[in-house]
C-alpha cells in the first residue's frame, strides 16, 4: 500500500502471563517518518506490545523484524543499541539522582578524566530545554519535582539517544495543554528527521492531531491497521470498545453551583491553610453534594492543596480546618479517613498501589485501616464490596486475586478509586483520577463522580484536563504558582477560555514565592 519500507515489523506476537493471554497474535508495523498510534482500551495490550518489542517481556510466539533483521531483544539496553528509544508508561527514573543525571544516565559526556560533569549538565540542560524545561536546574533532585515534570524529564531522556524508533507510552497522560504542544513540536521535528514514532494515548484529539497511522487492539487481539485521516472517530471508537460510539453518553452538562441554603454547614471549611514551599495559605469551603474542581497549570499546587486537605502533608501553623462546623486537626491520612475524607493520589505507582498485594486487598486496605488492624472485615462483606466495585468500575481482568501490579495502568487506577469509594467518604479528593484511563472508563468515572455528588458527597476534582473540570464542576478553584487566585462559579458563561484567561491575566500580588 505504501512505497515506504517499514523499519519495524512485528507479526503474530503472542504473550502469555500466568492466567492471562495478554497478547494473541498481534501485528504491528512502524514506518520511518510516521507517527503511529497504538489504540485500545485499558488492558488491551498496548504497553505489553511495547515491552514485547523492547524485549522486557519474552514472546511466546511471533516474529520481530527490525531494519530487515529478525530480532529477539532481551531488555531495553539491547533495543536501545538497535536504535529503539522507549518512554514507558509509568515514569521510570531514579528519584535518588538529580534531574540532569537522570536525563544523561548512561550517556554522560566523558573526557580524558572520566565523566565531565560540567559538559554533562550543559547537555542535560539543552535536552530539558527542548521539553520546555529550560529553567530547571539539572542539579535539582528529581524527587523535588512533580510527577508531571518527571514525565517530561523521562521524554527528554529519550531524546538523548538518537534513535531510529521512538516509543512513547501515554506520555501526555499527566501533561497540560502547553506541555502537550511542546511535545508535539518535538515529535514533529523528530518525525521529519525520518524517525518512526510509536505513540500511545487515550486522547482522541491528540491522535487525530499528530498521528498518521494507527493499529487498533482489543482484549489482546489485533483488530486493524488503518490510516488516521480516513478513519472517522466513531468508527475508531467502535473498533476499540467493540460497541458503537453512540452508547458512550456525553456526561455532565454545564452545571451551576447548587444553591446553598442558609445555615448549611460546609463539609470542610479551611481558612488560611497552607504549607511553606508548596502552597500558600488558602480559604476554601466545600459543601456536600457539590463537585469542586481545582484548575491550574503544572506545578500550580493543586496536588499540594489536595494533600493538605487529606493531611498527607502537615500544614503550617496559623491555618484553621473545620469539619461540619467543628474545628479539627487533620494531622495524618488516618485521622482524615476517620473523619471520612479520602484522597486518591496522582502518583499511582509510588503513593497508590501496593504492588504485590492482590486487587482485592488493595481495594479493602483503606477501609480495613479505618476499622483497625484487629477488626478484620467479615469475608461476606468484603466479597460484596469487591464484587460491587469490580463491576461498577469494570476492572479488567475481572479477577480480584491477581497482584495489582500485573494490571494495566488504567485498571490499577480503577481499583484505587474503588478503594476510596469503599470507605464511604463525605469528601472525596480525586487527583487526576482519569489519568491514563480510556475513553469508555473515563466516561464511567465521570458518571461516578456526578452520582456521588448527587448522593450528597463532596467531591474535589483535580485534573489537568480543563475540559473535564469545566464540564463536571459546580465550582472551580483556580490556582497559579501555588496561590489560589480565583473561585469561579460554574455556569453557561464559564468556558475553558475563562479559566485560561484568569490564569494568564492574574499576577500574584504578594509576589513572594511560597
Amino acid at each position: 500500500m505504501t512505497d515506504k519500507q517499514p523499519i519495524v515489523v512485528m507479526k503474530g506476537i503472542t504473550i502469555e502471563f500466568p492466567g492471562v493471554k495478554a497478547l494473541d497474535g498481534v501485528d504491528l508495523r512502524l514506518f520511518p517518518g510516521e507517527v503511529h498510534a497504538l489504540m485500545g482500551e485499558n488492558g488491551a495490550g498496548k504497553s505489553t506490545m511495547i515491552k514485547a518489542l523492547t524485549g522486557v517481556y519474552k514472546i511466546n510466539a511471533g516474529t520481530i523484524v527490525v531494519d530487515g533483521k529478525p530480532q529477539q531483544f532481551n531488555g531495553t539496553l539491547d533495543a536501545q543499541n538497535a536504535g529503539i528509544a522507549t518512554v514507558y508508561q509509568e515514569v521510570n527514573l531514579c528519584t535518588n539522582l538529580t534531574v540532569g543525571e537522570n536525563v544523561m544516565l548512561g550517556h554522560e559526556v566523558r573526557g580524558p578524566l572520566g565523566i565531565n560533569w560540567k559538559k554533562t549538565h550543559e547537555a542535560a540542560k539543552q535536552y530539558l530545554a527542548q521539553m520546555g524545561l529550560e529553567n530547571i536546574d539539572p542539579r535539582t533532585p528529581l524527587s523535588s519535582i512533580s510527577i508531571a515534570m518527571q514525565q517530561l524529564v523521562a521524554i527528554a531522556r529519550a531524546m538523548v539517544i538518537d534513535a531510529k524508533v521512538l516509543i512513547l507510552d501515554e506520555p501526555t497522560s499527566s501533561l497540560d495543554a502547553n506541555e502537550v504542544q511542546d511535545l508535539y513540536k518535538i515529535m514533529r521535528k523528530v518525525r521529519d528527521s525520518g524517525v518512526a514514532i510509536l505513540f500511545v494515548s487515550h486522547f482522541l484529539d491528540q491522535i487525530y492531531e499528530i498521528c498518521d497511522r494507527m493499529t487498533i487492539l482489543r482484549n489482546g487481539r489485533f483488530i486493524k491497521e488503518v490510516m488516521v485521516k480516513d478513519t472517522p472517530r466513531n468508527e475508531l471508537i467502535g473498533m476499540m470498545i467493540g460497541k458503537s460510539a453512540e452508547e458512550l453518553s456525553q456526561i455532565g452538562a454545564k452545571k451551576a453551583r447548587r444553591a446553598v441554603d442558609a445555615g448549611e454547614k460546609p463539609i470542610v471549611s479551611i481558612k488560611q491553610l497552607g504549607k511553606k514551599g508548596t502552597i500558600n495559605p488558602v480559604d476554601l469551603d466545600i459543601y456536600g453534594g457539590e463537585v469542586v474542581g481545582f484548575a491550574g497549570l503544572l506545578g500550580s499546587g493543586r496536588t499540594e492543596l489536595g494533600r493538605l486537605l487529606y493531611g498527607a502533608d502537615k500544614p503550617d501553623a496559623g491555618g484553621s480546618y473545620e469539619l461540619k462546623g467543628k474545628t479539627v486537626s487533620i494531622s495524618d491520612p488516618y485521622t482524615a479517613l476517620k473523619n471520612k475524607i479520602a484522597y486518591s493520589t496522582e502518583n499511582r505507582r509510588d503513593e497508590g498501589i501496593i504492588g504485590d498485594l492482590t486487587v482485592r486487598q488493595n481495594m479493602l486496605i483503606a477501609l480495613q485501616a479505618t476499622r483497625g488492624m484487629l477488626k478484620p472485615i467479615p469475608k461476606k462483606e468484603a466479597d460484596e464490596i469487591v464484587a460491587k466495585y469490580m463491576k461498577e468500575l469494570n476492572v479488567q481482568p475481572p479477577d480480584p486475586d491477581r497482584p495489582i501490579k500485573n494490571l494495566s495502568g488504567g485498571n490499577q487506577q480503577k481499583v484505587l478509586i474503588g478503594r476510596w469509594l469503599a470507605t464511604h467518604p463525605d469528601l472525596l479528593i480525586l487527583d487526576e483520577p482519569t489519568r491514563g484511563i480510556d475513553i469508555g472508563a473515563k466516561a464511567e468515572i465521570q458518571q461516578v463522580v456526578l452520582d456521588l455528588a448527587e448522593q450528597g458527597m463532596g467531591v474535589v476534582f483535580i485534573s489537568s484536563e480543563l475540559e473535564e473540570v469545566v464540564r463536571l464542576s459546580d465550582n472551580i478553584e483556580v490556582l497559579k504558582d501555588r496561590h489560589k487566585i480565583a473561585e469561579i462559579e460554574n455556569g453557561d458563561t464559564v468556558s475553558q477560555q475563562t479559566i485560561v484567561d484568569t490564569i494568564s491575566n492574574t499576577t500574584i500580588s504578594t509576589g513572594k514565592e511560597a
Partner: protein, 342 residues
Amino acid sequence: MTTATRKAAKATKATKGFSFNPQMIPTITAVVIFILMLVMGQALFGTYARLGFFSSLFVDHAYLIILAVAMTLPILTGGIDLSVGAIVAITSVVGVKMTMAGVPAFVAIIVMLLLGVVFGLLAGVLIEEFNMQPFIATLSTMFLARGIASMISTDSLTLPEGNNFDFISQDIKIIDRPKISHDLTINVGVIIAVLVVIFGYILLHKTRTGRTIYAIGGSRSSAELMGLPAKRTNYIIYLVSGTLAALASVVYTANVGSAKNTVGVGWELDAISSVVIGGTLITGGFGYVLGSVIGALVRSIIDPLTSDFGVPAEWTTIVVGAMILIFVVLQRAVTALSGDKK
C-alpha cells in the same frame, strides 16, 4: 509565555534549599563527630594527638579502609557483601601456604587476588543467574570461603623469613623522633589503601558504571527500563568487592606476617558499620566512598576510647554499641533538622 513565567517560578523553587547537596549531610556530620571524638580523647587521655597514634590508626586499619571501600559498592546498590571477611581468611591462608612452599611472593599475591575474583564472580553468578538475594548469596560464599580455608589448614601459618611480602609492611618513617610514639610512620599498605580510596572515588563519580551503581540503588527496575547495563554492573560490583577483599588480605597478611583460617571473623560487620557510619544508606542509592573511610576511622577509635575510659570488662561491648548508637542518632538528628524529606 505563561509557560515561561510558570516554569521560572518552579525552577527557583526547586533550586532553592538545594544550594548544597543534602545527601552529603550524614557524611559531613561523620567528619565533624570524628574530630570531636579525637579532641575528647586528647583532652582526657592526652595520647590522641600523638603522631604515633595517627600512624597506627592508619597502618593498623589500612585493611579496614580497603574493606570499607569494597563494601560501599554493593551497599550503594542496596545489596551487601558478607563474604569479605571470609575471603580475607582463605586468600591469606592460601597466600602464606604458597610462600611457605617457596612460591615467590608476587605470584602468591596474584593468586590471592584471583581467588578474590573467583569468589566475587561466584557471588555475582548466584545473584544474577539464580536470583539469590545478595545477603544470602554472599552469606553462602562466606561459609564456603571460610570452610575451604579451614580445610586447607587450621594451623597458624607464618610467612618464611625474608619473604617479599615484607615490602608492604616495611615502615616508612616520615617523621622520626627519638620516641616511637612521636614518629609519623606509614607503609605500603597505607599507600595501597589510599590508592583504593581514589579508585573507589573515580569508579563511582567518574565512570558510567559508577552512575549505574547509584541508579540501581535508586531502583533496579527503573535502571533496567532506562536501558542501563544493570546485570553487568552487578557482576562488576561483586567482582570488585571480592578483589578488594583479597587486596585487604594481602595488606593485613603482610602486616602480621602470618595467616589463619579464623582471621577476619566479623570483619564484614565492621566494614558494614563503617560504611553506614560514613553516611551511606543501607538500602542503597545514597553515599560516598570518603564517608566510608571516615566511618572506618570512627569505628577504629571507638575501641581504644572504650578501653581508655576503663570500662569494666563485661560492659565493653555495651559501651561500643552505645557509642555507635549515639553516633547514628546524632547523624540522624542533624539530617532530619536540615529538613530533608522523610
